[in-house]
Symmetry: C2
Subunit: 138 residues, 2 copies
């Protein structure tokens, strides 16, 4: 097989193989809508916002949560440094995860890993704000 | 091939075929970390929070944004109905998108589709709060 045919074969095989999966893969660069999900977005404000050690400790704690099997996708973030008037960049750490349903989020809340996280790391933050979303009717 | 072998073959073929792609697919149920991304999360509070027509109009507007090529993944949400003390469920609509970089988000901001959205739909909301995140050091 010459190279371009081979590439096409690999692409086609990849696409075909992925069809049976409930996949969120971006095969091309088209924006991909996430549907039928529960979005759990948490913002933490540290008691010591200038402490890199406390920030890293909280990140360490959040990484333990990534083992909770109810989670589909996750992201641990810090403010991006953008600064328009509508932007709240005052938080220390963001914790985003998507789950398949409200039931999955309820199970996540009482998962022993989550309960241990709250117990072991809550001394680090002074404020938490949570936004939970499900698909808008469309 | 018996069924279990066939399943394993299909799984292996799928996994192998997906390797060359910069994929966010969830091959199994393991939580998937999103890395090297910019998370742009927007919450809108409508002027008429009880107006389903206004809510649907804003959703219509946000759907125009999903054509902006800089976006990798997106979600349009409404409050999930959860109600613990840390949860802010007062927003009308959430608009989440991920992009590959700060540069992509800057380009998104000045994309004609985005500018038209603000112009055509801003009469609907009374408050917007934006949280922009990039990967935390870990």
């Amino acid at each position: 097989m010459e190279n371009s045919s081979r590439r096409n074969f690999v692409k086609t095989a990849a696409a075909a193989a992925m069809l049976p999966l409930a996949s969120t893969a971006t095969i091309d660069s088209k924006p991909k809508g996430m549907k039928n999900i529960f979005v759990h977005q948490v913002y933490f404000w540290l008691k010591n916002p200038n402490s890199t050690a406390d920030r890293d400790k909280l990140v360490e704690g959040l990484k333990t949560l990534t083992k909770i099997k109810h989670i589909k996708t996750w992201h641990i973030g810090i403010p991006a440094g953008t600064s328009r008037d509508v932007i709240d960049g005052s938080f220390s750490i963001s914790w985003l995860n998507t789950l398949k349903s409200r039931a999955a989020q309820d199970a996540y809340q009482i998962d022993p890993i989550h309960l241990a996280f709250v117990e072991n790391y809550k001394h680090l933050w002074e404020k938490v704000v949570v936004y939970d979303s499900v698909d808008a009717p469309q």
